[in-house]
C-alpha cells in the first residue's frame, strides 16, 4: 500500500487514547476538525488504544459523555479522509476491518516515519 497512498498533508493528528476514559480523544478530534475547517489537509493515525475510537457499536456511556463516534461520522464532511491505523493494535483488541465504523489504511511500522515526515505539523493526543 505504501506506494499508492498519499502520505503528505498539513497536519497529522495521532490518536492514542480510547473513547470515554479521558478527554484526549475528543480534544484530539476537535483539533483535527478545526484544522480542516481552516482549510488544512488533515490525516489521522489511530495507534494503541486509539484504534478503539473506530470500533462499531459504541454507546454514549453511563458517564454523561457525548462520546466520539458521532464526531467520526463527521470526518468525511470535513474532508478528512486520510485515516491510518496500527494493525497490531487492532489485532490486540481482537478487532478486524469488519468491526470498524470507517475504513482506515493499515500502516506498518516501517512506513510510520514517512507518514510523520510527510506532514508539516504533528499533534499527538
Amino acid at each position: 500500500m505504501s506506494s499508492t497512498v498519499n502520505f503528505s498533508g498539513d497536519l497529522l493528528v495521532i490518536l492514542r487514547h480510547a473513547p470515554h476514559g479521558s478527554s484526549w480523544l475528543r480534544e484530539g478530534l476537535d483539533a483535527a476538525l478545526v484544522a480542516a475547517a481552516f482549510g488544512q489537509s488533515v490525516s489521522l493515525l489511530f495507534q494503541s488504544d486509539g484504534v478503539l475510537a473506530l470500533a462499531k457499536g459504541q454507546g454514549v456511556g453511563p458517564l454523561g459523555q457525548k462520546g466520539t463516534a458521532t464526531t467520526l461520522d463527521m470526518l468525511a464532511m470535513y474532508d478528512i479522509e486520510s485515516l491510518y491505523l496500527d494493525p497490531e493494535a487492532l489485532e490486540r483488541f481482537g478487532l478486524g476491518e469488519q468491526d470498524l465504523l470507517l475504513p482506515a489504511a493499515a500502516l506498518d511500522a516501517a512506513s510510520l516515519p514517512r507518514l510523520i515526515a510527510g506532514h508539516r505539523l504533528v499533534l499527538t493526543f
Binding site: 498539513d10 497536519l11 478527554s23 484526549w24 480534544e27 476537535d30 483539533a31 478545526v34 484544522a35 475547517a37 481552516f38 488544512q40 508539516r120 505539523l121 499533534l123 499527538t124 493526543f125
Partner: protein, 130 residues
C-alpha cells in the same frame, strides 16, 4: 527560529509545565523567538490566576507572566477546554452569570484555530504533555 509551545499538562500535577518553562528560557537565552504558548487539555489550569503555591516552590503562573512581560510571548488558552474546567475571563464570567473570573490578561481565551495558525506560523511547535 520561531517557536511555539503547546502545553497539555496541569501545573504541579505533571512535569509538563516545568519542562515547558525551562525549554522556553533556553530558547530565548539562545536568541530564538518564542511567539506563543498555547494551553490545551489540562494545560489550561496554568492560566488560573488564583494559583497560590508554597513559597519555596516555583510559581508557575508568575513564570508564564514573566515570559510574556519580558519576551512578548502570547499566552493563549483554548476556550472550549477552559470553560469546562472553570477557567473564565471576566467577559465569559459575565456571559455565564458567574460572580468571579479566573483568567485575566496576559492570558487570553481563544479558539483552537489559533493553535492551528500557530502551527503554520512558527518553525517549530513543541508539545509538552503529561
Amino acid at each position: 527560529m520561531r517557536y511555539g509551545l503547546l502545553v497539555k499538562g496541569a501545573p504541579y500535577s505533571s512535569q509538563a509545565s516545568h519542562s515547558a518553562l525551562r525549554f522556553a528560557a533556553a530558547l530565548v537565552a539562545r536568541g530564538h523567538r518564542l511567539k506563543c504558548v498555547f494551553f490545551y487539555h489540562d494545560g489550561v489550569y496554568n492560566a488560573a490566576r488564583l494559583a497560590a503555591p508554597p513559597q519555596d516552590e516555583p510559581h508557575l503562573y508568575d513564570a508564564w507572566r514573566s515570559l510574556h512581560d519580558e519576551h512578548g510571548t502570547q499566552l493563549q488558552v483554548c476556550i472550549a477546554a477552559a470553560l469546562r474546567r472553570a477557567l473564565l475571563d471576566s467577559r465569559e464570567a459575565e456571559r455565564h452569570g458567574k460572580s468571579g473570573h479566573s483568567v485575566e490578561p496576559p492570558f487570553e481565551l481563544t479558539g483552537l484555530g489559533q493553535l492551528i495558525d500557530l502551527g503554520r506560523e512558527v518553525d517549530r511547535l513543541v508539545t509538552f504533555a503529561p
